[in-house]
């Protein structure tokens, strides 16, 4: 089975990625923010230093003999200045200042690249406009400062990341415990245990899952019970024809004296044994039909021409009906259609019409009427048989139920089959006496 991987690992990975992303974002923001602040502060410093030099240069420059000033601080190496007389004669400069002029002569801030180094320069003139003072600072200083802050921010994250992962792992494990418990419960179940899963300790997120599972369990339980009952019923029903066949065969064997009477008994018993086999075979057919309905019920969306299906089924039954002078009359509009499964509908029609013919006295008629009424399509099969007492109408669709007085030659399954097929087609099955009191009217209304 393909798996989407461990939920725990996924959660941990996602949490860690989120933490790292947020932290890195914060660091990047801090870096750029700090960098901007430093620019302003240090630019201000440059401007201030330049102002001081202007003052000094105007007063003391004549007395200064050396050409460069000493370095006083570690950052001093990165801060340089030049004082140019008239803007082109270098009068004074710091030790680390490059030989060429730091920037153009215009007053203000500028950036220049000298010998591969990036200087931030502030240029200004003294009041008499004789001295050009240029103060510069290596730009890398600013980068270093901002990076320092960023690194200080990242350090604790890097150190605490394994610890964080460990804590998250524990928390996730705890958080997923109800799910693990549920899984264990399902895992340890006996395969035939279909009791509902308990929902009390389950987290809200898995409730729909448990709910679905429980509903599935109930459905399986119901269908298993139905299967078991069906198997038991079927076995019981088959016992009687088998008992009859066996008893008839034994009667035939015992009628062995060779007298005319015994010969007659033997023939009668053997014929009955064959009849018994036919009946058992019919019962088995009907049982198999009933068992096959449900799997077939999945495909009921075909448009079926009910009129022509009915005509076709009637055609197959006519010879049998004619033997007993029973007339089959179809009264249907042309091409009345319903959505369904044609195989199942044919079985439904055959059972209904067979039933009607079976219970009709010789020389009567069976009417089959198909009409459209509002949104429904009605299929009625009306016979002139003895009908079914009102009290038993509700029970005749039960499996193997045969109303009193019926010869036990039917399987007792015909109407159960009809009912099941109607159910699958979301159609309504109604049995009622014919108005004048004799006969049965079975109506299936398709929605």
């Amino acid at each position: 089975m393909h798996s989407a991987g461990s939920l725990k690992q996924r959660l941990l990975l996602l949490a860690l990625i989120t933490v790292i992303a947020v932290w890195t974002g914060a660091t990047a923001f801090t870096y750029y923010d700090a960098r901007g602040e430093f620019d302003e502060i240090l630019d201000a410093h440059l401007a201030q230093s330049a102002t001081l030099l202007v003052v000094q240069a105007s007063q003391d420059l004549d007395e200064i003999e050396t050409e460069h000033a000493p370095l006083l601080h570690k950052y001093s190496r990165r801060v340089a200045f030049q004082i140019w007389e008239e803007g082109h004669e270098l009068r004074l400069h710091s030790a680390n200042a490059p030989a060429q002029r730091l920037a153009e002569r215009e007053k203000g801030f500028s950036d220049s690249y000298i010998n591969g180094k990036h200087w931030r320069v502030f240029s200004t003139w003294d009041e008499s406009h004789e001295m050009l003072i240029q103060v510069a600072e290596l730009s890398e200083v600013r980068d270093e400062l901002a990076s320092g802050i960023a690194i200080n921010l990242l350090k604790p994250l890097l150190i605490s990341l394994p610890l964080l992962a460990l804590l998250l792992w524990t928390a996730i494990t705890r958080g997923l415990r109800p799910l693990v418990k549920l899984t264990a419960e399902v895992e340890q179940r006996e395969p035939d245990n279909l009791a509902a899963l308990e929902t009390e300790s389950a987290p809200r997120e898995v409730m729909p899952l448990i709910d679905r599972l429980n509903r599935l369990f109930t459905r399986i339980e119901t269908s298993m019970q139905r299967e078991r009952r069906f198997t038991a019923d079927a076995a019981h029903e088959l016992r009687t024809p088998v008992a009859a066949i066996k008893a008839q065969a034994q009667v035939a064997i015992a009628a062995n004296s060779g007298t005319a009477e015994d010969k007659e008994v033997r023939n009668h018993a053997l014929n009955n044994a064959i009849l018994g086999c036919d009946r058992a075979a019919h019962l088995i057919d009907q049982l198999l039909t009933l068992a096959r309905i449900d799997p077939m019920g999945a495909q009921i969306s075909e448009t079926c021409n009910l009129s022509s299906l009915t005509a076709e089924v009637i055609g197959a039954i006519v010879p049998k009906a004619l033997d007993r002078q029973i007339r089959l009359e179809l009264d249907a509009g042309e091409n009345i259609s319903v959505r369904g499964n044609p195989v199942l509908l044919r079985i439904l029609l055959r059972n209904l019409i067979d039933n009607a013919v079976h219970h009709s006295p010789d020389g009567t008629r069976v009417q089959i009427i198909i009409t459209n009424e509002q949104q429904n399509t009605l299929l009625s099969v009306i016979d002139n048989g003895p009908g079914i007492p009102e009290a038993e109408l509700a029970r005749v669709t039960e499996r193997f139920y045969r109303p009193a007085g019926t010869s036990a030659s039917g399987s007792g399954l015909g109407l159960s089959i009809v009912k099941r097929i109607a159910e699958i087609h979301d159609a309504n099955l109604e049995l009622k006496p014919v108005k004048d009191g004799s006969g049965l009217n079975v109506t299936v209304s398709f929605k």
Binding site: T240, A243, A244, R279
Partner: protein
């Protein structure tokens, strides 16, 4: 020996009727509970074969009604219901035996013989009066160390009288045990059979009680 078969399945009922006839029983066959209840109330049967799943009135209900009237007729339930619970329920309702479909015709006949024997307070499978021995299972009679062949009806008359040895049975009571419904009862048939039996054995075997009926006396010393 008249048996009532209550079975709603046409083919099975037909077979039981034919099979029991072959075992020399007179058999009445009824297909629903209500008619069975009626028949049991009006006729006397040696034993009853009862199906449980009957239309109109269930087999158990027929049995319950029969026992509530203190009718001791032996009842054998013949059914497809094979669970222990079903059997217990059947026996506790008053059945004497329980046989599950499909069954063996021979076993059904043997169980009915056993029921009849027990109902008449006998433990031996052979009926014996003086030097006449009747073996119901094989339909044979031994008289003075010799087997005697008897036609079915004569056997049935002898069987009925020997089962009730010491009791006077009226002619109609004997007739009742000989003929099922629809069978033509020959006039004076019982007299004729008794006459044949007396000739084949000895005249004193069966005594005539004038105006009452016939009797095989117990413990007659010859």
């Amino acid at each position: 020996m008249r048996i009532l078969v209550i079975e709603d399945d046409a083919l099975l009922g037909d077979a039981i009727q034919a099979g029991l006839k072959q075992a020399s029983y007179a058999v009445d066959w009824i297909k629903d509970g209500v008619s069975a209840d009626l028949a049991l109330g009006t006729e006397t049967y040696t034993a009853v074969v009862l199906d449980l799943g009957l239309p109109r009135l269930s087999g158990l209900e027929v049995l319950r009604r029969l026992r509530s009237l203190n009718n001791p007729t032996p009842v054998l339930i013949l059914t497809a219901m094979d669970s222990v619970d079903d059997r217990i329920k059947g026996l506790d309702t008053g059945a004497d035996d329980y046989l599950i479909k499909p069954f063996d015709m021979g076993e059904l006949a043997a169980r009915l013989r056993a029921l009849v024997r027990r109902a008449n307070g006998q433990s031996e499978p052979v009926l014996r009066v003086a030097d006449v021995e009747l073996i119901p299972a094989s339909h044979r009679v031994m008289f003075r160390e010799q087997f005697i062949e008897l036609p079915a009806k004569e056997f049935a008359v002898l069987h009925t009288l020997m089962l009730n040895a010491g009791k006077v049975l009226s002619r109609s009571k004997i007739e009742e045990q000989l003929y099922a419904w629809g069978e033509e009862v020959e006039s004076n048939a019982v007299e004729v059979y008794v006459h044949h039996l007396r000739r084949k054995f000895y005249p004193e075997l069966i005594e005539t009680i004038r105006g009452v009926g016939y009797l095989i006396p117990l413990n007659r010393n010859i």
